[in-house]
């Protein structure tokens, strides 16, 4: 039993209190330790991903308690990939936050960020449903702090909405877990999978209720359509690096759906047959449509990116809700793409907002306009899913996965039309931001934005670092495109592992008898 598996949880859990207690008054030291901690996490994640790549499922029993009784952490291809993605994203975001000075606009940015990393990594690694709830709460409570980082009336009010919505989500999560526990008497995911599959078919009313409640909870996290209300307001008002890191939080919801509804409530399980996919697919199609229409209609740059994030979650959820190994492979590839692209767009939006204000209307030409327009263009290409970047390949994979599904015509129509809408939306936004610049001689409402520019110039001492972060994420997208072959192979292998739950169950429960 290797202790490496628990390191992505323990490492941030040690770094965060250290930052909080020992070096709370030294911003430079905080930055150093935060970057170092994140770098170490990247290293650990790479080793873990390497270990998981050969298809072994590793189990870590906390306190050496045997599997259904103690809590287990499980490392398979999907969780290793998600942890790796989280750590790489975190590195880019820490650099961005340092470069733009976001981390000194309030207290404890780095400590909260490390706590959030701990929660996210834990949620990806855990093999226990109640533990999943606990890690959700860890990442949420850190995200509440990060969400209102820097303060401001509007942000605080958005923060209240965000917290209230997520508290309701947590309550629902507990109701779901209570229901499931009442039926099965266990919350270990592998054990749940065994017990659910051995339930007699007359006895399934309650467990089906539990499964649907759980789906609602994860859909709130993943911002699937009727439950997406919280996202635009919260993400648009959150500090930019935080919003960018929230790109992985929606994926936590997607990951949980992918995990629970292949392992426990599998598509071929008599208990849950037709329970999830039939509902999730129309909701995902609507999510995609609303997201991209929102991109077209947004009057505010941050809102535009938030809606783009919803749209990209929609595409991802379509791939997940088809529930075949091929579609799950497409979904895993799209998760990687969507996380990097969404985060990058939030960072770019922040670069733009810092220089010209957030309203999507003509203003003065901003400094470094050329460079920002170049990354904005690349980001828009990625988000809209145009060639040559990985969004295009991801969308093709999703389209291919829906080949032969009864709703194929609908899925293709929605994905292709929304891509067009997204292209138009981004083109409109890019045109207004970068081309429709006001003449500095004209005095109308210039003084306001001018003042804003002066303020932020003074605020950002290290100018190169934000661009390093943006280009780093872009490099990730390019790498996903160039190495699309291996990436897709890994995704397909991941999906194959997901749709063979017996190996997971054997690893968790069988390992106990050794």
């Amino acid at each position: 039993m290797s202790h490496l598996i628990i390191l992505p949880v323990v490492l941030p859990a040690l770094v965060a209190p250290f930052i909080l207690m020992a070096i709370r008054h030294h911003l430079d030291l905080q930055r150093i330790f935060s970057v170092a901690g994140t770098l170490a996490l990247v290293g650990v994640a790479f080793i873990l991903a390497g270990q998981a790549a050969d298809g072994d499922i590793q189990v870590y029993e906390l306190g050496d308690w045997r599997a259904p009784f103690g809590i287990v952490l499980v490392l398979d291809r999907l969780s290793a990939l998600m942890v790796l993605l989280t750590s790489l994203l975190a590195l880019a975001i820490v650099l961005y936050a340092i470069g733009t000075g976001w981390d000194k606009r309030g207290h404890h940015f780095h400590a909260l960020f490390q706590f959030q990393l701990m929660g996210v990594a834990g949620a990806f690694l855990t093999g226990d449903a109640f533990n999943l709830f606990v890690f959700f709460e860890v990442l949420l409570i850190a995200s509440y702090g990060l969400m209102i980082h820097g303060g401001g009336a509007e942000r605080l009010r958005a923060g209240v909405q965000y917290v209230v919505f997520n508290l309701l989500g947590s309550t629902l999560f507990l109701f779901a877990l209570g229901t499931i526990y009442a039926v099965t008497g266990t919350l270990n995911m592998a054990d749940l999978a065994e017990r659910v599959s051995s339930l007699s078919t007359e006895d399934t009313a309650l467990i089906r209720v539990g499964a649907i409640l759980l789906l609602l909870v994860f859909s709130i996290k993943a911002a699937v359509l009727p439950l997406h209300f919280w996202l635009p307001g919260s993400y648009a008002n959150a500090p930019a690096p935080v919003a960018a890191f929230f790109a992985i939080m929606t994926k936590v919801g997607a990951y949980a759906i992918l995990r629970m509804y292949t392992l426990v409530f599998g598509p071929d399980e008599p208990v849950s047959k037709g329970l999830v996919g039939d509902w999730l697919l129309p909701a995902s199609l609507l999510t995609l449509a609303i997201g991209m229409i929102g991109v077209f209609g947004a009057r505010d740059i941050a809102k535009l990116v938030a809606f783009a994030a919803i749209g990209s979650m929609g595409t991802l959820m379509i791939a997940i809700s088809i529930f075949t190994p091929v579609s799950a492979g497409a979904a895993v590839y799209y998760i990687m793409h969507s996380t990097l692209a969404t985060a990058m767009m939030f960072l770019i939006a922040d670069l733009v907002i810092e220089r010209r204000g957030r309203a999507l209307q003509p203003s003065l030409r901003m400094p470094q306009s050329g460079l920002i327009s170049a990354v904005f263009f690349a980001g828009a290409v990625a988000m809209a899913g145009m060639p040559p970047l990985s969004g295009f390949l991801g969308k093709i994979a999703v389209l291919q996965a829906s080949y032969g599904v009864p709703e194929q015509a609908l899925i293709w129509a929605v994905i292709l039309v929304t891509s067009l809408v997204a292209i138009m939306g981004f083109a409109r936004a890019g045109g207004i931001i970068f081309w429709k610049t006001l003449d500095p001689q004209e005095p109308d409402d210039v003084s306001d934005t001018d003042l804003h520019t002066d303020l932020t110039e003074a605020k950002s001492p290290i100018v190169a670092l934000p661009f390093v972060a943006c280009f780093g994420l872009l490099a990730g997208l390019v790498a996903l495109t160039i190495f699309a072959g291996p990436a897709l192979q890994y995704s397909e292998a991941t999906a194959a592992q997901l749709f063979d739950p017996s190996s997971y169950i054997d690893a968790v429960l069988g390992g106990a008898e050794k």
């Binding site: 709460e137 509007e154 605080l156 209240v160 508290l167 507990l174 209570g178 009057r299 505010d300």
Partner: protein
């Protein structure tokens, strides 16, 4: 006893949902508290209701016992919901003091959206 516990959970949940749908933050926070009480009792009841039984197996293996796991779950849930409620009160207070407004909904015109 079951009917009493079940109906009290139902009443708490109904009141909680009603309050959560109000438009000011204070009733919403109260609603969340009620909902979290309801869910705590619900979790507790998910291990079946029994009376006068120890939460551990008898070492002679005789007799019944009450399921200890939901009690542990409920303890975790209480701690978390307590902390979260305290946090949301603080954030709501901050929002109220800085904007003189305790409505939970926001108007989202881009002009007022500037907060950076």
């Amino acid at each position: 006893m079951e009917i009493l516990v079940a109906s009290s959970i139902a009443v708490l949940t109904a009141c909680g949902i009603y309050l959560v749908l109000r438009s000011h933050t204070f009733p919403v926070i109260l609603g969340i508290s009620l909902l979290s009480y309801a869910v705590n009792i619900f979790l507790f009841a998910s291990g079946r209701l029994v009376q006068h039984l120890p939460p551990i197996l008898n070492k002679y293996g005789e007799g019944s016992y009450t399921d200890p796991l939901p009690q542990a779950l409920v303890l975790t849930a209480i701690v978390i919901s307590f902390g979260m409620t305290a946090l949301v009160v603080m954030i709501a207070l901050g929002a109220f003091l800085s904007s003189d407004e305790d409505r939970i909904d926001m108007n989202d015109s881009p002009e007022t959206g500037d907060s950076s």
